[in-house]
Chain length 140, copies 4
């Protein structure tokens, strides 16, 4: 459910605390570096194990960092929400040791559905991917 | 580029060999269990480190296995190809220790673009997600 | 909201009656030829006015027939529902005087969200496009 | 194919001339009001015949104006190009007599693929929809 200001501040504090021990964040090396109402920023240093059979960075890793920004950004305004749809355009291939940044901005956070936009850039600001996603609130 | 039968058989043998040492496959625990012209099947046992701050399986992990099937399926007919777009509908949340299976079927493999469809199911056959993706051939 | 069997039968009767005078259906020449719980079939004869500056059938027309099947199919199980997201892969260009058929199958119709899949084919059964969409129930 | 400056200016002149007699533009009431390299703006006054069985504006009409901006914007830099994929998030329902504006900005125009972003707003600047699409060049 969309939430009033006080509830949003509380949700953000809860999410920030939870992220410190979040299994997937530790596993993939993703870090929440900013979380404000309707906005989240995640960073991730690419590692050799993120490469695919072609020696490129696996597309699913680029999707994962966008998805992580999406999860925090959308939940900042409406917690708990779950994703029902995710769409990504892969614009430039990252280099194997880039440091990626994903940002999420919530476009709409309604009682029944939320829509978010994400960008992924590298350490020089080069655009790697753009993504969007739809969430639905699942609290009662 | 789309390839004749002999070239496809050779590509499939190359991809199968490359997968044995693929960094991302080892890292995420994904296994290529079938690869035929225009079709790939991947399995993945979920692990505790795949969970997010809510205790659910991270959506990006479901996307990743779909993306891995997509990569092998699309490249089986047209190697090397890269993805420019990926879309996923998350239908049911997997349980934390499900074993997921992703299947990719190439819908079109053209000289200039390819389109693939993916499904993700769990060990009981329950539908977890459906996805699609667009590839472009990048060989000369 | 997802509906019981009797309510679904009533909704389908209502939708079939409404379609007879639906402005957009008349305007674009779309016809509802089948509507059962979770399934809709629409046909549309292409006209010269559907062509774009290249002499091809406008992509938005292919999207429109898929969207019409989506609207009826998703509402058959959960009325009223609105679409929040729509995704289409354009696979083959239709010929300017093809007769198109769009079919929608609901993949999931939940209390909070629905997911549907659509195909568009021509009179010979050739696959023109595949699409998906997300709906949310808007009744109280 | 992506094109040099002179070729782009020529393409834009050709597209502007073609639009004056474009069947679908006349039929749906869409007007090309701006076309510069990598950017297109289309307007469209909604009409009673654009409504669906619920009395709402048909989602396919919102998709159509976004698709028209996409067609002109993407072709301005790479003509002829065709769309292989289109994705739209429907954010607010337009009112039945809104005047819609769609803008397309090309995010990437490569030798093998192009990616564009579209927004649809109404006469008060309210955001109605956001869309993206992938094109492939089809000239030799």
């Amino acid at each position: 459910m969309p939430q009033d200001e006080e509830k949003v501040a509380e949700t953000i504090a809860t999410l920030k605390a939870a992220e410190k021990n979040e299994p997937i964040a530790r596993f993939l090396g993703m870090k929440l570096v900013e979380l404000t109402p309707g906005y989240a920023k995640i960073t991730m240093k690419l590692k050799p194990e993120h490469q695919n059979f072609n020696g490129y960075v696996f597309g699913g890793i680029v999707a994962a960092i966008a998805d992580q920004a999406f999860a925090y950004g959308s939940n900042s305004l409406s917690h708990p929400s779950i994703a029902v749809e995710f769409h990504i355009n892969l614009i430039s291939a990252p280099e194997p040791n880039d440091e990626l940044t994903a940002e999420c901005r919530v476009v709409r956070s309604g009682r029944r559905a939320g829509i978010s936009e994400m960008t992924v850039t590298n350490q020089t600001g080069k655009l790697i991917a753009k993504a969007t996603g739809v969430t639905i609130p699942v609290g009662e």
